[in-house]
Amino acid sequence: MSHLKNRSNSVKDLFLDKFNNKLVLILSSVFSIFMGLTVSGLLMLFLNQNPVEAYKLIIEFAFIDSYNIANIFAKSTPLILTALAFGFAFKAKLFNIGAQGQFYIGVLAAVFVSLKLGWMPPFFVLSLSLAASFAAAGIWASFIGYFKAYFNANEFLVSMMSTYVAVAIMDYLLRGPLQESKGEYPQTDLIPNTAKIPTFINGTQFHYGFFAAVGAALIIYYILWHTRLGFHIRAVGQNRNAAEFSGINEKKIFIIVFLICGGLAGIAGFMQVNGINHMAVQGFEADIGAAGIGVAILGNANPIGIVFAALLFSTLEVGGLMLTQTSSLPSSIIGIMQGSVVIFVVISYFINNKFNILKRKRKLINNGEEI
């Protein structure tokens, strides 16, 4: 009898052990996506739509022609960046909810440089615009880290509220100094051609910025796992006490992390201004920050995961947009799909976590401490 019991325990342990590796993370993400789409499919039933048909159409529409396929990449570009802006901070157990505001600061910096320095050769305008959007939004966000480090301010709240300030600054500038020369709408003039990011596929919005965004994800990955800064960020994120005990200056880490996160969200602004809209419009892309959080969660805050998650969200977006245009489904169904996927990802984190705790408990009860 006891033999049997041991056997079932070891099978169970083996099963639980499996829950630890990366494969499980990927599998549970895929499962969460499946569950999220199933649940939003059930909602479609209430709207008298056939979900299977709807999903088929989304895929069909998303890949119907090169324009739509290109659009997936175009849409994922800023998403990757705002998701990194959340995910990178998350690695240090910091919550950057202010990517939206940081995005706007980046937009303003990029459009300002592009308008004023448009006479320069394209390479210089683009480089300066990119640098300005990174720097402006980075400095903007580093204040969140500063307040956290020196006044123990809650970074969640400060970053969230900072978005409102950024929106107000944008409103002012787009109705004042940066407003179009016609003076009619709260938007800027079109930026000169020299300041536009060249397209990768002509006649589409797929511009070279996508590769820069993927490059940013790779750089962030490299920083996290191969540099001293990344080492410190992970140490502070996973055990603040141990980091302090080891002489790591967490105040500095808070500020640097927010500087980089803000910079990333700022570059997203550069991508939209110089790559897609070619101007700044009051309150445009109003949910790019929130969408970034969802993408980061789906990607488990892993830079590479974020790239794939952003592509998935963009596919739903592109295919879903055409679906809602051609059927009676409301456009909010896209948000519902994305939202329920994220909810299931969070649930799967929770379950994974419970399993891990259970596993450690079992180990302790069964074996006790061993050398």
Binding site: W225, H226, T227, F231, A235, N239, F245, S246, K361, E370
Partner: protein, 508 residues
């Protein structure tokens, strides 16, 4: 039968496991009506966990609770209150910006007219001498009064059993006296009190019966009339005081560390360290004996720069290190094996190699001038350390939480021994380890001593202190009461000093 009739609460075979520790291992206790029970044990013995289970804040993994002989399921503090159990937490659960009355109203399950409750507060205050102004703001009240509010809260809920978690830790002696007066009054009405503490003099003063916990297990239950300090200390610390003391002549070198009149004053003005002075020379182990929670951790933290001292000086090789930051102290050759390896010693979700260089990330040892990781060097060095310190691990890239406790501790030891080439602080270095791993750690300390390092050893295990130290200092309530050479150490004397009995009372 009469005895059974008198039992109010029974906890039977309570088990609670947290990841990393068994907090309660098959503990059974009984509380009779009209009885004050002291739950005695060192920090981390499982006292608070057990009481949080009784109060419905934690769920036991196994075991059951009976009230008046009937099995009950206490799944929340609300339920506990309904059953007549009240708890005064160590850290008060009051809203600082609200008034006394508002705080009391907040926790009542039913709604009462404020005026009625206000009168109740006054009534209880007069009856038990717990007078407090209902309209006073909590954050303007002294700590002793805040505690009164907590007690009043519990009494208004008609508690028949009060659990008090280290209630005297924040009180002045006068306030403590008042508290004890209240406990006696409360008891005389047929109510019960469970008093959690690690202070022996209070135990002897207030309790009828004493239950001792150690390492999550119940060691025993003893009536006060059969108990004395010595016996209780033995139960609490777990060893009889009669093991052989090795005599070994140390070759003492020059002074490495001098702690000079160091004091630390806590936030509420309480004295955490009180004028501590000690020296440790090269090739010497200085053992700090004491019941845990008497300032040992703070002393170690102060030397390592983790805690600011209020007074005094600490010198390493003759130079003051008081104003250096943590990193500078690490770099000047101080290694520190902390008491809690999970909380401060390791980053469990990082790999073995990353944990080994946690304190060596500055400078160019493992990161080049562009601050990029030298992964090849790290791998080679890690494998060397894994061999040298006999760490059992499949790969240097294994996450530390997948290692057994003994091997986790070896990772910490490997790191700190390498860094601490002048001074090594070892705080509870063998806690929670099995025999083999503990022996390994002890051998390592002796080896490092023979290399000419100064070692500060802090341990709750008196046997460990006696086995390893060349000098022994006894700490009690933040004060080093006496320092002995090992050769002249008198175990009985040390045991009594640990419980706060000072020199002059030996003669009696």
């Amino acid at each position: 039968m009469k005895y059974l009739d008198n039992v109010f609460i029974e906890m039977e075979n309570i088990n609670k496991v947290f990841p990393g520790t068994v907090a309660n291992d098959d503990i059974s206790i009984k509380v009779k009506k009209g009885e004050v029970i002291s739950l005695l044990g060192e920090n981390g013995a499982g006292k608070t966990t057990l009481m949080k289970i009784l109060y419905g804040m934690y769920k036991a993994d196994r075991g059951e609770i009976k009230i008046d002989g009937k099995k009950v399921n206490i799944n929340s503090p609300q339920k506990a209150k309904k059953l007549g159990i009240g708890m005064i937490h160590q850290h008060f659960t009051l809203v600082p910006v609200h008034t006394v009355l508002e705080n009391v109203l907040l926790q009542l399950n039913e709604s009462y007219a404020p005026k009625y409750v206000e009168n109740k507060i006054k009534e209880i205050g007069n009856k038990y001498e717990l007078v407090v102004d209902p309209s006073a703001l909590i954050n303007e009240l002294p700590v002793g009064f805040q505690q009164r509010v907590e007690i009043i809260k519990a009494l208004l809920g008609n508690s028949k059993l009060l659990i008090m978690d280290e209630p005297t830790a924040v009180l002045t002696p006068q306030e403590t006296e008042k508290l004890f007066k209240f406990i006696n009054e409360f008891k005389s009405e047929g109510n019960s009190v469970i008093f959690i503490t690690h202070k022996l003099n209070e135990v002897m003063e207030i309790s009828d019966r004493i239950i001792v916990l150690r390492d999550g297990k119940k060691v025993g239950s003893i009536n006060k009339k059969d108990a004395d300090r010595e016996k209780l200390t033995q139960m609490m610390i777990g060893r009889e005081f009669d093991f052989e003391v090795k005599k070994n002549e140390a070759t003492i070198g020059k002074k490495i560390i001098e702690v000079d009149n160091v004091s630390i004053v806590g936030e509420t003005g309480n004295q955490i360290l009180n004028n501590i002075s000690l020296n440790i020379s090269a090739g010497e182990i200085f053992g700090v004996a004491g019941v845990s929670g008497n300032g040992q951790e703070e002393l170690a933290d102060a030397i390592a720069g983790l805690k600011k001292i209020s007074n005094g000086d600490i010198r390493l090789m003759g130079k003051s290190i008081v104003n250096l930051n943590i990193r500078e102290i690490i770099n000047s050759g101080v290694g520190y094996i902390p008491a809690d390896r999970h909380k401060v010693g390791l980053v469990l979700e990082m790999t073995v190699e990353e944990n080994l260089i946690l304190k060596s990330t500055y400078g160019q040892k493992y990161f080049n001038k562009y601050k990029l990781l030298k992964s090849k060097k790290l791998k080679i060095d890690t494998e060397k350390k894994i061999n040298k310190f006999n760490i059992k691990v499949s790969t240097s890239k294994a996450l530390v939480h997948s290692l057994s406790g003994g091997n986790q501790q070896k990772v910490v030891v490997a790191r700190e021994v390498t860094l601490g080439d002048k001074l090594l602080i070892a705080s509870q270095p063998t806690r929670g380890l099995d025999f083999g791993a503990a022996a390994y750690v002890k051998r390592t300390l002796e080896k490092e001593k023979s290399k000419g390092k100064a070692i500060l050893l802090i341990s709750n295990e008196l046997s460990e202190i006696m086995e390893l130290s060349d000098k022994i200092g006894v700490i009690y309530e933040g004060e080093i009461l006496d320092i002995f050479d090992r050769n002249e150490a008198d175990l009985k004397k040390i045991g009594l000093l640990m419980t706060g009995v000072r020199g002059e009372s030996f003669e009696k």
